[in-house]
Subunit: 92 residues, 2 copies
């Protein structure tokens, strides 16, 4: 998957990430992986849905979704588990 | 999928839904579908991860994840789009 790009979903508005994806697809990316952790997981799903139903309707689809658990270090230096998601969006 | 049960994920603590799933698996459910909308999507992923990595480690796995958009009616009577997720957890 050499043509694969990654977009990390954080606290920006959904449209910011949608626009980042549209830009990458317009630069000939064949697939994009949205990655998010914790509360941003819901936003990653929003980005995928807005892309495939509105901004790139009939041009992309969700081809893979994986969930996982990652360990992050808290400000106090402890290890904490956080859920993560990867959503692959591919040109059709 | 006659043995399939559904657990709707809302605003309760993650452990409440984990326990609901454990109970259903102990009552011979072969598969459970976690359903969540909006911000509860992140919690649904937490429930799936805690189940397969801790409470039912090596006994269940995530076998399907689907995302979708649903229309809900707001308090003002307008229609609003909300993202949704369905995570299927199956005995292995």
């Amino acid at each position: 998957m050499t043509e694969e790009n990654t977009v990390f979903i954080g606290n920006k508005p959904v449209t910011a990430y949608v626009m980042a994806c549209v830009t990458q697809f317009n630069r000939d990316a064949e697939a994009i992986v949205l990655k998010a952790r914790g509360r941003a997981i819901s936003r990653a799903v929003d980005v995928a849905e807005v892309l495939r139903r509105r901004f790139m309707k009939d041009r992309v689809d969700v081809t893979n979704i994986q969930i996982d658990t990652e360990q992050i270090e808290t400000r106090e230096g402890n290890l904490s588990n956080v859920s993560a998601i990867e959503i692959t969006i591919t040109k059709i």
